[in-house]
C-alpha cells in the first residue's frame, strides 16, 4: 500500500525537463532513499511531493489524495519537510523553531495553544535535545540545528517525513547520530521517511539495522532502478547508471552481515 504514489511525473522550469515520466511508490513505514548526483532533480521531486512546486505532467498522491488539490495546511498535516540547508533569519530559540511545526494546526489570527506548546516540548524531548530548548539556535552547530528541524517535523505530527540531503553538512559523528535518531523514530512511531541522499551507504545502514528500506537510483531525469538496497546497490548498477566502478564489501558485526559500497574509480 503506497502512502506516496508518483505517476508519470514530469517537471520543467521552462523548456528543459528537470525530470520526466517518473513512477514511484513508497510504502507506509519504510525508509525510502532517493539516491542520485547533484542536480539530478531530487530536490525538485521532493518539493513536488510536498505540493510546493506543481508538476507539469502526471500526478502525485500523498496519503491517498492528489497533492495538487490539497491546501498547504492539509499537506503539512500529512508530510513534514526537513530542508537541506536552513538559513537562520533571526536568532530564534530552538523551542520557537520547533513550535513553528504547529503552523498547520493554528488559525491565521491566533497564536499556538498551550497544547501546541506541549507538543513542541515533547518533540524536543523525543529527539533528545531538550537541553537546547532556550538556546538561540544560531549558536547551535550544523548537526544540532538539523536535530531541531527533526523536532520541528515531529511537532507537525505527520505520518511522513521528507528530508532533502539532511546529512549533507554534517560531520562524521553527527551524520551517524542523525541516522540513529531517524532509526529510533521509525522503530518507535512507524513513520515513513523519504530521504534524498548523496550516500548510497545510508540505504545499507537502514537495511542492516533492520528497518524496512528501499532505494531508487535517479539519474538523467529519471529513476533508473528501484527496489530494496540489496537488489539495487550492485556493482553493475553503479557502473550502468553512474559510470562508477565499485565494490560491495560485507562484514559481520553483532552477528549481522552488513554491507557497504566502496567507489573505486570513475569510468
Amino acid at each position: 500500500m503506497g502512502i506516496i504514489k508518483v505517476r508519470n511525473a514530469t517537471f520543467s522550469y521552462g523548456r528543459e525537463n528537470v525530470f520526466e515520466n517518473i513512477d514511484l511508490e513508497i510504502n507506509a513505514g519504510e525508509v525510502f532513499c532517493l539516491f542520485g548526483p547533484n542536480g539530478c532533480g531530487k530536490s525538485t521531486l521532493i518539493l513536488c511531493m510536498l505540493g510546493v512546486l506543481p508538476l507539469s505532467n502526471g500526478q502525485i498522491s500523498l496519503g491517498g489524495r492528489n497533492v495538487r488539490g490539497m491546501k498547504p495546511s492539509e499537506v503539512a498535516k500529512v508530510a513534514a519537510y526537513i530542508p537541506q540547508s536552513h538559513e537562520k533569519p533571526f536568532p530564534y530559540k530552538a523551542i520557537d523553531i520547533v513550535l513553528m511545526g504547529r503552523t498547520a494546526h493554528t488559525a491565521t489570527f491566533s497564536p499556538p495553544s498551550p497544547a501546541d506548546r506541549k507538543i513542541a516540548d515533547e518533540a524536543l524531548e523525543k529527539v533528545g535535545i531538550a537541553e537546547f530548548r532556550d538556546r538561540p539556535y544560531t549558536q547551535l552547530s550544523g548537526g544540532e540545528t538539523q536535530l531541531v528541524l527533526v523536532a520541528r517535523a515531529l511537532a507537525q505530527q505527520t505520518p511522513i517525513l521528507i528530508m532533502d540531503e539532511p546529512t549533507a553538512h554534517l560531520d562524521f559523528r553527527n551524520e551517524l547520530n542523525f541516522l540513529e535518531t531517524i532509526v529510533k523514530l521509525v522503530k518507535q512511531s512507524g513513520l515513513t521517511i523519504i530521504m534524498a541522499t548523496h550516500f548510497p551507504n545510508h540505504a545499507f545502514y537502514f537495511e542492516g539495522i533492520g528497518v524496512n528500506s528501499s532505494l531508487a537510483l535517479m539519474n538523467n531525469r529519471n529513476i533508473a532502478v528501484k527496489g530494496n538496497p540489496f537488489e539495487v546497490l550492485t556493482e553493475e548498477n553503479m557502473e550502468n547508471v553512474f559510470n562508477i566502478k565499485s565494490k560491495i564489501i560485507s562484514y559481520t558485526w553483532k552477528d549481522e552481515t552488513l554491507r557497504q559500497i566502496v567507489p573505486l574509480e570513475t569510468s
Binding site: 510536498l50 499537506v75 530542508p83 533569519p89 530564534y92 520557537d96 503552523t103 494546526h105 491565521t108
Partner: protein
C-alpha cells in the same frame, strides 16, 4: 507584562499634558480632564480646556498612534523580508504619501482633508505598484518586492521634486517642504478619528497575526511546507503594515527612523520572537514618539519639525545600538 506595555504609553501621554509653553498645575490638568469627561463639576477657564483637551491631548494620542504604527510596521516588514534593516518605507509608502500630499497642497490650496486623503491614497498606490512589480506567477519573491519598492520610491521621489519645482515658491513650496519634514502640530480630535481607523486596523491586524510573522521569516518554501499559505499570509501582513503606515504618514508627514530604531530596542529587550516583539514594539513606539514630540514642541521658541528630530535622535542612537550589541541581536 501586558499591563506594563499599556501603562507606559498612557503615563507618557498624561505627563505630556503638563509639558508646553502654557504652564498648568497638576490639579488644573486633572480637573480639566475630569470636567471634560463629566466626572467633576468645576469652573474651568476656556484656555485650560483649549490647551489640555483640544491641543495637548489629541496631539499626544495621535503621536502615540503614529509611533506605534510606524514601529510595528517596521518590525513586521523586518520579519517578513528576513532583514533587520528594512523599515516601514520598504515598499514606497512614504514616498507615495509625500507625492499625494504635495499634489493636494498644489491642487486644493492645502486643505487638510485633501492632504490626508491624497497622502493616504497615494501611499496605498505606491505599495500596490511595488507589490504588482514584485509578483510573478502566483508568488511574491522577496527580492522582487524589495526591487519593486526601490523603483516605486524613486519614481515618486522624482515626482515630488517635480511638484516642488512647479509649486508657488511663496506659498505652496514651503507647505510641501514642511509636510515632508513631518509634524503632529495640526492634530485635532476630528483628525484622530479619521486617521485612527486605518492605523488601528493595521496595528491590531499585525498584533493578531504576529506569530505567523515568525513562520514567514523562514522563507517561502519552508513556510509553505509548514502549512502556511504564503501568498495570503504575506499579502495580509503587507496590507496591515501598509494601512498602519499610510494612516500614520497621512496625518503626520514623513517621520523617519521610528520603524528602524524601535524594533531594534525591542529585539534587545525581548528577543526576536514576534510573539513578544510585536506588542513591545507597539508600546515602545507609542511612548517614544510622544516623548520626541514633547521635545519638538518645547525645545525652542518655535516648533522643530518632528521628522528632523527623529532622524537626529534615531540615527546616532541606532549606531550606538548596533555597536553595543555588535549586531548580535539578529
Amino acid at each position: 507584562m501586558i499591563a506594563l506595555l499599556v501603562a507606559g504609553p498612557v503615563l507618557i501621554i498624561l505627563v505630556s499634558l503638563f509639558i508646553g509653553r502654557y504652564p498648568l498645575s497638576v490639579s488644573e490638568v486633572f480637573t480639566t480632564l475630569g470636567f471634560r469627561m463629566g466626572l467633576v463639576q468645576a469652573d474651568i477657564p476656556a484656555t485650560h480646556l483649549n490647551v489640555v483637551w483640544d491641543v495637548r491631548l489629541p496631539r499626544a494620542i495621535l503621536g502615540a498612534m503614529v509611533g506605534a504604527s510606524l514601529a510595528v510596521s517596521g518590525a513586521s516588514f523586518q520579519g517578513m523580508f528576513r532583514n533587520p534593516l528594512v523599515s516601514a518605507n520598504i515598499l514606497g509608502v512614504t514616498s507615495g504619501a509625500g507625492f499625494g500630499a504635495a499634489l493636494a497642497i498644489i491642487m486644493f490650496d492645502g486643505q487638510t482633508f485633501f492632504i490626508y486623503l491624497f497622502a493616504f491614497a497615494f501611499g496605498l498606490l505606491a505599495v500596490i505598484l511595488s507589490y504588482l512589480i514584485g509578483t510573478t506567477y502566483k508568488a511574491t519573491p522577496t527580492v522582487m518586492l524589495v526591487l519593486g519598492g526601490v523603483v516605486v520610491s524613486s519614481i515618486f521621489s522624482a515626482l515630488i521634486s517635480l511638484l516642488k519645482y512647479i509649486a508657488d515658491p511663496f506659498d505652496q513650496l514651503p507647505s510641501i517642504v514642511f509636510w515632508l519634514m513631518g509634524s503632529l502640530a495640526s492634530a485635532r480630535f476630528t483628525d484622530i478619528v479619521i486617521a485612527a481607523i486605518p492605523m488601528l486596523i493595521g496595528v491590531i491586524g499585525l498584533l493578531l497575526m504576529r506569530w505567523r510573522l515568525n513562520v514567514l521569516s523562514l522563507g517561502d518554501i519552508e513556510a509553505r511546507a509548514l502549512g502556511l499559505n504564503v501568498l495570503i499570509a504575506k499579502s495580509l501582513a503587507i496590507f496591515f503594515a501598509t494601512l498602519a503606515t499610510a494612516g500614520a504618514v497621512c496625518v503626520s508627514g514623513v517621520i523617519g527612523w521610528v520603524g528602524l530604531v524601535i524594533p531594534h530596542i525591542g529585539r534587545m529587550l525581548v528577543g526576536n520572537n514576534n510573539e513578544a516583539l510585536i506588542p513591545v514594539t507597539i508600546s515602545l513606539g507609542a511612548g517614544y514618539l510622544v516623548i520626541v514630540d514633547n521635545i519638538a514642541r518645547t525645545l525652542t521658541g518655535s516648533e522643530i519639525p518632528l521628522g528632523i528630530l527623529t532622524s537626529l535622535i534615531g540615527g546616532p542612537f541606532f549606531i550606538y545600538l548596533i555597536r553595543r550589541t555588535k549586531a548580535r541581536g539578529w
